[in-house]
């Protein structure tokens, strides 16, 4: 059950995941169909940490479920490790570890029993299984809790056990759907540190679906997904560089009014997001200076920074990643 050693000629190997012209529709009531994925093509290389970034309902969870062989696409093809996901689901499943948004642990079983159950499902047993369980419990620092019921564990610990469970059969590919759901920021950070440590220990390809830009920032490459379409795909740095320049964020008592005055006076068009004004500029320093000179009395705070993936998403789709307030 061990993964093959990484070959020296990485470029010759087929991608871990190849998705071509993938479309998916959910059948709803009264023959209404909802398009969840619309003609997506992309390839994920072996060893990559790959992000799927999009707001809720963008289709990224559907994509994860198709990769996990839970849904069969009507159009297009998906191959995992060179194997067609639709025609050979069991072969794909053996190479796959999945941690879904809702935890797949049984609260009435102990940590150890949960892992043993997973092992048996994957055809592992006996001493090799017990060794692997101990190894993962150690690595995720939950060995001391091995005899405790999962329902008594904290959210962060559960998440670690969940990861250990997903990796028990040493999959080549790990799928994570919204891994930070229900975790507080400190635990979230710890989760990502664990993941980083893990990728050093085992050759692992990881696909993360998230609506949080700071999670996507940690990925090698990010696919922006909106309304089931692939909007952009590149490294986080390249995506942000494309925006051109830096981002100015202005907090003001009356953002709308200030935006109007800035358009009138300076001829630049700020976007309003979450009650703040945003502007991109190649010469952000100079623009910020003239903003302060012209509207200093109306500005509560002004921030100058590198663009985030949220800025990129906003520029590409005109939509924000997280809908904090309902749109009229």
């Amino acid at each position: 059950m061990t993964s093959p050693a990484p070959s020296p000629q990485l470029a010759v190997r087929p991608p871990m995941i190849a998705i071509e012209e993938l479309s998916f529709r959910y059948r709803g009531r009264r023959r209404m169909e909802r398009v969840a994925l619309d003609g997506i093509s992309l390839a994920i290389e072996t060893g990559e940490l790959f992000g799927l970034l999009g707001p809720n309902g963008s289709g990224k969870s559907t994509l994860i479920r198709i990769l996990a062989t839970l849904l069969t696409p009507a159009h297009g093809s998906v191959t995992v490790a060179g194997l067609d996901a639709a025609s050979r689901p069991d072969a794909v499943r053996r190479r796959l570890g999945v941690a879904f948004q809702s935890p797949g642990l049984d609260g009435k079983l102990t940590v150890e029993e949960n892992l043993r159950f997973q092992g048996l499902l994957f055809g592992m047993r006996g001493l090799p299984l017990e060794r692997r369980i101990s190894e993962l419990l150690e690595r995720f620092a939950v060995a001391e809790r091995r005899h405790e019921y999962v329902e008594t564990l904290s959210g962060g610990l559960k998440r670690r056990v969940e990861l250990a469970k997903a990796l028990l059969h040493a999959p080549a590919l790990l799928l994570l759907d919204e891994p930070s759901t229900g975790l507080d920021p400190a635990v979230r950070l710890e989760f990502w540190n664990t993941l980083a440590m893990l990728r050093q220990a085992e050759p692992l390809t990881v696909v993360v679906a998230t609506h949080l830009m700071d999670e996507a920032e940690r990925c090698d490459r990010v696919a922006l997904i909106d309304h089931g379409r692939l909007v952009a795909l590149d490294t986080p740095d390249a995506l942000k560089t494309e925006l051109g320049g830096d981002v100015i964020t202005i907090e003001a008592a009356d953002a709308e009014a200030l935006a109007g005055r800035i358009v009138q006076r300076l001829g630049v068009h700020p976007r309003i997001a979450e009650g703040a004004l945003r502007l991109e500029s190649r010469d952000a320093m100079a623009l910020a200076a003239s903003l302060m000179a012209g509207f200093g009395d109306q500005i509560r705070a002004i921030r100058l920074g590198k663009p985030t993936l949220e800025d990129v998403f906003l520029a590409r789709t005109g939509r924000r990643l997280v809908d904090a307030e309902p749109h009229p």
Partner: protein
Amino acid sequence: MNASTPRGPAHRPRHGTEHPTENGTEYGTGRSDAARRRAVFLLATWSLMAREMLRFVRQRNRVIGAIGTPLLFWVLLGAGIGRSFRPPGLGGSMGFMEYFFPGTLLLVVLFTAIFASISVIEDRNAGFLQGVLVAPVPRLAIVLGKVLGGAGLGFGQGLLLVLLGPLAGLSYGIGQFLGAALVMALTAMALSAFGFLLAWRTDSVQGFHAVMNLLMVPMWLLSGAFFPASGAALWVRVVMAANPLSYSMAALRHVLYPPMVSEGLGDPPLWAALLVLLAFTGAALALAALQARRASG
């Protein structure tokens, strides 16, 4: 960079190179491969079944409820109606307590086996089922594991009640005991598979309870557990003949009581009753497996 042309070698031939590790493990020929598949099937079935039992034992309220309810039924109904009741066609040779005993067994098996299938809904809502469905396990093994788990619980409790029977003045030999065990095992499988079939499509526990009350209570009442078919109106007798539980009931009476009881009540022969039960179980399992293969969570 253009949004519509993502980086990376996205346009490879569809039927490209297989991974090197693939050869030998996937398409290995001969007995070893068949043996491996059988082992995977059995391991998965066994572990799902064992989990079901473990969960039950760890929820004490479930244990108390499942054993207490039918015991209460038996004692209260038997004691209350016992004196005035005489099953028709038996010439007063048998009290209600005795007549009601197989019915009580059936009730225990029914309650536990059916309500065990609620775990299908819970597993789905909790996300646990998804984790099972992404394992490289035949869907039939998943169905069989869950069904056997629920059936095992119903069977175990029915057995417990049979063991308690002598305490209530019933007497039977080893043959009767084993016969009752066999019939209860079959009944538990049939009901558990039926419960699984219905639970798979239901997304709320409340909805499942509603459907179960609608189906299960009449099924039990019209199984011959409460009153014999011989004295009933024609349409009731037709419904009772179509009810799979009637055959469990008939089979239980065959194995527990002397032949004259079954003859007096007009029950079908034992072999026919067992055959109907087997057919029902097989059909429910096949449908459940088919259903699990089509829509995966």
